[in-house]
């Protein structure tokens, strides 16, 4: 009967409207939960780590040059050698990864034939998928002896070795974000430059790179964040020495590696436990700031 058909149709329509509403709620709850997750992690770190600063002055914690939780004459909580180690490895990694990743991006965005690009892009993504423990093994067995021979070191486990390997993990991030930035530069800029008689290289250098600068900077920042957070590689190949490093050839122990090593020996809730959470909190704040700066640059790019 037609009226019946209309009725069921109407009901189906109403159920679907209901579904719309329900799904809208579900999705917004999921979206909100990510914010809650972030705040929750921060609160967790803060709750466990803040106690450290009641016992040790923040200045002494951040700028002390001696980290030795098990010292005979009372523990020393100077985080600076760890932070310097982290920065040394991260900056070293970017020194390799930026030229490499950016060249890759330029090639992909402007120079590569379509076929090559179709092969190269998945290859780069696969590099991102290499487990960092595998890179660590390569570092232990191959790269570290090579570094030792090249620089006449008695042992090749050093900030340099760690930098090279962390650099590999960062390249895909930088390459793909830079490529996005370069590809989004309007084609007419390039055409205009070429039409004015500029060579391809001049066009890239003087027109395209400056136009994509904020995106490239954002890529660098994200790469830096990734490099700072890398744990497994530095745990395996950075050399694990607590002395303040003097250069790239010294063994270092970054913040992430320190947490990973020492968390196993701490008693829940004691000062060492709090100290490690304070280091974790510092890492969190560092990457949070980096991401904020990145977003700032990306936002700026969208509005120009």
């Amino acid at each position: 009967m037609p009226s019946d058909a209309l009725f069921t149709g109407h009901r189906a329509y109403r159920t679907e409207r209901m579904m719309d509403k329900v799904m809208r709620y579900v999705f917004s709850i999921v979206a909100a939960s990510t914010v809650i997750l972030l705040i929750g992690i921060f609160a967790f770190l803060l709750q466990n780590g803040i106690g450290m600063f009641q016992k040790v002055h923040p200045f002494a914690f951040f700028f002390g040059t001696n980290w030795n939780p098990n010292a005979l004459a009372g523990a020393a909580w100077g985080m600076l050698p760890l932070a310097v180690s982290t920065l040394l490895v991260a900056v070293g990694a970017l020194t390799f990864a930026i030229p490499f990743g950016l060249s890759l991006a330029i090639y992909l965005a402007y120079l590569a034939p379509k076929r090559t690009r179709e092969i190269l892009k998945p290859v780069i993504e696969m590099i991102a998928g290499i487990p960092s423990v595998v890179l660590g093994l390569i570092g232990l067995l191959f790269l570290s002896p090579l570094v030792a021979r090249s620089f006449h070191l008695s042992n090749g486990l050093s900030a340099l070795t760690a930098s090279l390997l962390v650099g590999i993990t960062v390249v895909p991030t930088i390459a793909s974000l830079c490529e996005d930035a370069l590809s989004s530069v309007p084609g007419r800029l390039r055409e205009a430059s070429l039409a004015l008689g500029a060579t391809e290289w001049t066009t890239i250098r003087r027109v395209l790179l400056p136009s994509a600068a904020s995106g490239i900077l954002a890529a660098t920042m994200l790469g830096l964040g990734r490099a700072i957070g890398e744990t497994m590689v530095v745990l395996m190949v950075a050399g694990n020495s607590l002395a303040m490093p003097n250069g790239f050839l010294d063994p270092v122990r970054p913040m992430t590696a320190t947490i990973a090593i020492e968390i196993r020996e701490v008693v829940m809730g004691d000062l060492h436990w709090k100290a490690l959470f304070a280091v974790g909190l510092t890492l969190f704040v560092m990457s949070f700031l980096l991401n904020t700066v990145t977003d700032f640059f990306l936002y700026k790019k969208k509005n120009t």
Binding site: S154, P251, E265, V266, M268
Partner: protein, 302 residues
């Protein structure tokens, strides 16, 4: 019935993972010293042929890891290659534990260098000063001119603490490379002509006491002018003439219940068969005094 049983197994699994120490009687979780992992695994393996009903796991990580697990209530036995510190015992008592000490074996700690190193003997004080960073060049101890590269363990390790407290008697030089395991220390020294490291005898000599060829095991004199002695000399380690020896321990959160599986395990470890395994693994059996210290815990088993 089967569902019922499954439910029980499942819930006991959950319960176990929640608090390992309160688990059922057939489950023993052992964690701690890397030095002891191989020895204890061998003991447990032999023990489980006598007690097939036992479910036991042995994990390393370092003595401090084991002791932390003991205090946190995550392990039934903590292997430790150093004695528990007074403050650790205090914290454990605070958390309702009553730590019991069982001496498992004696271990001589060897000091090793690269085979190309011309130094083959040092005094105990020299070893200490090298690790404290006061002696930094091999020529200061009669070797060829060149910096000394220190290899040691991480602070999670009992060997780290033992060697520092008894040999270095000061903090380690910050430049020491803190290696993940004893094998990594030995590997570091085999590859480094400037290196010096420390390792349990089991890592540098085989069952019959023959040293491995890719490192030199230094002879150590207790004092200047005293006879330098090799840790491969079992007699000297047992009598304490070789100066770097230690006891290695197992700690329990409390006295084991009589006839419990843990009590059986300890009884097995101190039996003739257990002692043979101890020796085959490159450790030395207990002296009479050591065995006497064990009595409290062993008495409780009877």
């Amino acid at each position: 019935m089967t569902t019922m049983r499954k439910m029980i197994v499942l819930s006991s699994c959950l319960f176990l993972s929640a608090c390992a120490t309160k688990g059922n009687d057939n489950e023993i979780v052992i964690q701690g010293s890397d030095t002891e992992v191989q020895l204890v695994s061998a003991l447990v393996e032999a023990f489980s042929t006598l007690h097939p009903e036992a479910h036991m796991s042995v994990a390393g990580g370092g003595s401090a890891v084991g002791i932390a697990a003991l205090i946190n209530g995550e392990t039934d036995i903590a292997n430790s290659s150093r004695q528990m510190k007074a403050e650790e015992i205090a914290i454990a008592k605070e958390k309702g534990k009553n730590p019991q000490e069982y001496i498992l074996a004696r271990d001589g700690l060897s000091v090793i260098v690269h085979p190309s190193n011309t130094v083959t003997t040092l005094t105990l004080a020299q070893v200490g000063e090298i690790y404290a960073g006061k002696i930094t060049n091999w020529k200061e101890v009669g070797g060829t001119d060149g910096p000394i590269v220190l290899y040691g363990r991480q602070s999670t390790s009992g060997t780290f603490g033992f060697f520092r407290d008894t040999v270095v008697q000061a903090d380690y030089a910050a430049s020491m490379r803190q290696m993940e395991g004893t094998e990594a220390v030995v590997d570091g020294v085999t590859a480094d002509t400037q290196g010096i490291g420390y390792a349990g005898i089991g890592y540098v000599a085989d069952q019959d006491g023959n040293p491995r060829g890719d490192v030199t095991i230094l002879t150590i004199a207790s004092t200047e002018g005293a006879e330098a002695i090799s840790p491969l000399n079992q007699e000297a380690v047992m009598t304490g003439k070789y100066p770097i020896f230690r006891r290695i321990y197992q700690y329990l959160p409390d006295l084991p219940a009589k006839d419990s599986l843990i009590a059986e395990l300890l009884a097995f470890e101190s039996s003739e068969e257990g002692l043979t395994i101890v020796q085959n693994q490159g450790f030395y059996p207990l002296t009479v005094e050591d065995a006497a210290i064990n009595t409290a815990i062993l008495d409780s088993l009877r």
